[in-house]
Subunit: 106 residues, 2 copies
DNA sequence: AAATATACATTGACAGGCGATGTATATTAG
DNA sequence: CTAATATACATCGCCTGTCAATGTATATTT
């Protein structure tokens, strides 16, 4: 059980939504941003990241569109929906509750 | 993704170790204590609790012995080992790190 | 010309959580 | 006195999120 697995599990979607709440973005950029923010202490594995995108899009929390890059690899951009925004707020509240709950138990 | 699943996932063992760090105890009592501490907001599912006991005992983090009740259902008591104590301290540190990490990302 | 960075994507395995189910004893309510 | 509830432990099999491995394609750097 490493810090970067079970303890973060359940936050993947919220972390992604948090980035998209700031601005539309794409997988690679989101992951780089996470690495920078955490000084390299954390990163999403690609498989984890892209499967989270699938889940969130299927659930209507985000929408995607292809970027119009004329050079470099193509990018699939994601945009948060109003449903996604609501989920994000809910998840942040749940995180606050979780912190108190776990703090009281460990 | 409910508050009582993925967000707590990864804390099950630490929660159990926390109780055993106070005193030897058994499954049912540990779970009741958790419910009381959290005012009924959280409880371990039995399957989760007992499979965690198995894991922890296999890993040498806890040891078990049968209680000597002369009445009522039999109880299997658990005792934390020094290895388990060390893991508990480690997990608490990881939790502090996790809080900061997640707080910076969501 | 080779290595590295950017960028997306799928497959299959693994592990923890948990619903369902089963066993057994003791106490409480009607 | 008997049915319901509480105490107490245990296992099976499914579900879901994570992730290693692998693959595709383009651009830049060495």
């Amino acid at each position: 059980m490493s810090l970067t697995s079970d303890l973060i599990r359940g936050h993947t979607e919220t972390i992604i939504l948090a980035r998209l709440a700031i601005a539309d973005s794409y997988g690679y950029e989101i992951n780089k941003a996470i690495q920078q923010t955490t000084n390299g202490e954390y990163e999403l594995k690609e498989a984890t990241l892209y499967s989270a995108f699938r889940r969130l899009e299927s659930a209507g929390m985000i929408e995607s569109y292809w970027g119009d890059e004329t050079t470099g690899a193509r990018r699939r951009y994601y945009r948060i929906t109003s449903l996604g925004q609501a989920l994000y707020e809910k998840n942040k509240q749940d995180w606050e509750k979780t912190k108190k709950l776990v703090d009281s138990l460990v």
